[in-house]
């Protein structure tokens, strides 16, 4: 943010500062004979040196490969709609960044580069599955039907929580790193007791994986065999800190120690993200407990609009990831298989232009909140002290208004 410190700096970066310096284990808890989706099948699929092992269904050049544990049937129409979703959220994201640059938003946290991880996992959910996001899950929000203008409204500061979490089955953004993983487990425990077969996803980042809250949520999820999927977008950076500061073994392998399966998926491969998340959700909803997915991806942009990443990472690194762009990759597949033509791409681009224009004007038209509205939601029910303060401020503001006349 300026806000969200996001907190990170939050704030200051935008003002003075910039100007100056410029695993896999079977689940012991489940007792089920059904085989858990395993990381066992991970293999080196890209042929590049230094490339980690992960589940991949689409190579960077768009070649479709199969994986024994994660079969995926995809109609041409579904493939095209994944492409459309990724293009549209990338456009929403670009508009968020532009609006912030123009002073219309306090802050924006870009998802650039993480479209496949978010759309793949988001589309894997059923409408009744519930997601607990961080502050960067605009793509998941899109899949859960949250209108992008509502997201912008939150970053503009004119609405607190601009959507109804229960209507969208998408919780509000969480700024304090890691808290939501615990909320997700508690929610999943509730789902479990309600007896439904919905599942819950907790999103978090590579940096968040060091927080007690996240690790403790693993313990709880395992202990109660809760229907929760822990979905880590390992985008290689926690603000300026590389993942080597957070872990010395691949993150997904931690799951073994907690007693549930962990897998790593190519986070820039939307098909793999879709298939693996579906399997993990199925694992959860069929009573087999949690699963950890590490989506190996990259934060192409700044941490937030308050950040300047050139200070701490090389442009070579960024460029090497650009070659693995998730949208380019899916397009290569669509072209290779002749699943889409120029008319399709043109339609999607036009739709993106229209969406951008619409959310921009929608954002600018959002009404500023009335100062007295700050008293509205400190408590769910009327509260004497709040009422008193509210009355005092109302009087006080009225006094100024009178002076002006």
């Amino acid at each position: 943010m300026t806000p969200v410190v996001l907190a990170n700096d939050e704030g200051d970066r935008m003002t003075g500062r910039r100007a100056v310096e410029k695993s896999t284990t079977p689940n012991p808890a489940s007792g089920s004979t059904k085989r858990a989706p395993q990381g066992r099948g991970t293999r080196r699929t890209t042929g590049l040196k230094d490339e980690p092992e992960f589940i991949q269904l689409l190579t960077p050049t768009g070649e479709r490969i199969d994986h024994p544990d994660y079969p995926l049937e995809l109609s041409p129409e579904e493939a095209r709609s994944l492409y459309r979703d990724m293009v549209l959220v990338r456009r929403v994201d670009a508009e968020g960044t532009a609006l912030q640059r123009q002073g219309e938003l306090g802050l924006w946290a870009s998802l650039l580069g993480q479209e496949a991880a978010q759309i793949g996992s988001g589309r894997a959910m059923r409408p009744d599955d519930f997601a607990f996001p961080t502050y960067r899950e605009h793509g998941v929000a899109w899949c859960k039907g949250v209108p992008p203008v509502n997201l912008l409204g939150m970053f503009r500061g004119v609405n607190n929580g601009g959507w109804d979490p229960n209507e969208n089955n998408f919780n509000l953004y969480t700024i304090v790193i890691g808290s939501q993983a615990l909320h997700a487990v508690g929610y999943a425990m509730g789902v479990q007791r309600d007896g439904g077969d919905s599942a819950v996803i907790a999103y978090f980042g590579d940096g968040a994986s060091s927080q007690g809250d996240v690790l403790e949520s693993f313990v709880f999820g395992a202990s109660y065999n809760a229907p929760v999927v822990f979905f880590c977008q390992n985008n290689q950076w926690a603000i300026s800190e590389p993942t080597s500061r957070q872990f010395r073994v691949p993150l997904y392998q931690r799951a073994a120690g907690f007693g549930f399966p962990g897998v790593r998926v190519d986070g820039n491969d939307v098909l793999a993200c879709l298939a693996v998340t579906r399997a993990a959700l199925e694992h959860a909803r069929s009573g087999q407990g949690p699963m950890l997915i590490e989506a190996f991806t990259y934060r192409m942009g700044a941490h937030t609009t308050s950040d300047d990443p050139t200070r701490y990472r090389s442009s070579d690194e960024v460029e090497s990831w650009r070659a693995k762009d998730p949208i380019v990759r899916l397009k290569a597949y669509l072209d290779r298989e002749a699943l889409a033509d120029e008319t399709f791409y043109k339609t999607v681009d036009d739709e993106a232009d229209e969406l951008a224009a619409q959310i921009r004007s929608g954002c600018l038209a959002l009404p500023d909140p009335d100062p007295l509205s700050m008293f509205e939601h400190s408590y769910a029910a009327p509260h004497a002290q709040v009422a008193e303060e509210r009355a005092f401020l109302a009087d006080y503001l009225a006094g100024f208004a009178e002076e002006e006349h």
């Binding site: 943010m1 410190v5 939050e10 704030g11 003075g16 957070q246 909140p369 709040v386 100024f400």
Partner: protein, 333 residues
């Protein structure tokens, strides 16, 4: 802030730079001193305070930590007990809540629980306060809470000179010291040299003398209080402004002798009014100089709501200059 102004006024520096210079000096002077926290290395800290220190002192002494406040504060306690002099940076006071157990149950208590054997010479720096549109999880003023805790010392430098000198005093203290840096002060520019008025951080400072009313404040509210005093002067009210500097212990003598002269007291505190440091100060004034008062003590605090994000709401929620002027006028009327 610009090179131009630095050239014309060579002693001017910012609060941020003063704090950085103090860290540099401490790191040079004492091998045992090191800095740790999130993004304090190459990034230079969330607010840029440690920018350049990694390059000068290396990653052993300027340590980026895994993302866990509880862990790096706890590790700081361990290092302090082992004889080091750690400076731990927490991005904002809100995130210090993830380390509250380490601060209260451990740092503040170990000396007592060990029968005097385990001193914890730990310094924790953190940003506090609102006014930057960073919403309810980055904007609170919880230093009053910390001032409630026996076993720690709580400091709130509000001027460039105090920012320059606070760290050495904190490091020299054998007990845990919390330093609160109000986010609105980092770009403040001023003279880092306290000159003839050497800084004694245990003592409050009279930032502006006056005869009609005493404004007691600290940290991010000091500039607003001074502005209010200026405005009041135009209205023929002479307000004295006291900057507490130390929130625990409180300098009762400075507060009481001022109130005994002006007979009116207004306490300005960005925290919520209920159970605040402002409440404590007001109680002490009534306990100690009640008969000197010509009017009830006034308090100017934040609205008792989570600090809002929207600019207009945030402004309305925080103590503003006009609110201070109004409170002083009410006290003296």
């Amino acid at each position: 802030m610009t090179a131009g102004s630095a050239a014309t006024k060579p002693q001017q520096t910012t609060y941020r730079e003063a704090m950085r210079e103090a860290m540099r000096e401490a790191l040079r002077a004492d091998e045992r001193v090191f800095l740790m926290g999130e993004d304090v290395g190459r990034y230079g800290g969330c607010f840029g305070v440690s920018l350049g220190l990694l390059e000068e002192f290396g990653p052993e002494r300027i340590r980026d930590t895994p993302l866990s406040e509880s862990a790096f504060v706890g590790a700081g306690i361990g290092a302090a007990v082992a004889g080091m002099r750690p400076i731990v940076e927490i991005m904002t006071v809100n995130f210090s809540l993830l380390a509250l157990d380490q601060i209260l149950n451990n740092a503040a208590t170990l000396l007592h629980m060990s029968g005097g054997q385990l001193a914890v010479p730990l310094v924790i720096r953190m940003t506090t306060g609102a006014g930057r549109q960073v919403a309810a999880q980055h904007s609170h003023s919880l230093e009053g809470w910390y001032a409630h805790i026996p076993g720690i010392r709580v400091l709130a430098p509000a001027t460039v000179a105090d920012a320059r000198t606070v760290l050495a005093a904190a490091l020299a203290d054998p007990d845990p010291v919390l330093i609160f840096e109000h986010g609105s002060l980092y770009n403040l520019s001023g003279d880092p040299d306290p000159g003839a008025d050497p800084v004694d951080l245990g003592r409050a400072a009279i930032r502006r003398p006056g005869t009609d009313a005493t404004i007691v404040t600290f940290g991010g509210c000091l500039p607003k209080a001074l502005e209010a005093a200026e405005e009041l002067a135009r209205l023929d009210v002479s307000a004295e402004v006291i900057d507490l500097r130390s929130l625990r212990p409180l300098d009762d003598a400075a507060i009481m002798s001022s109130v005994a002269r002006t007979h009116h007291a207004v306490v300005v505190d960005e925290a919520w009014r209920t159970g605040s440091l402002a409440a404590e100060i007001s109680a002490r004034i009534t306990e100690q100089v009640f008969y000197e008062l010509d009017a009830p003590v006034e308090r100017v605090c934040s609205a008792e709501v989570p600090i809002p994000y929207a600019r207009q709401l945030e402004e309305a929620a925080l103590p503003q200059t006009a609110d201070i002027v109004a409170a002083v006028q009410k006290a003296v009327s």
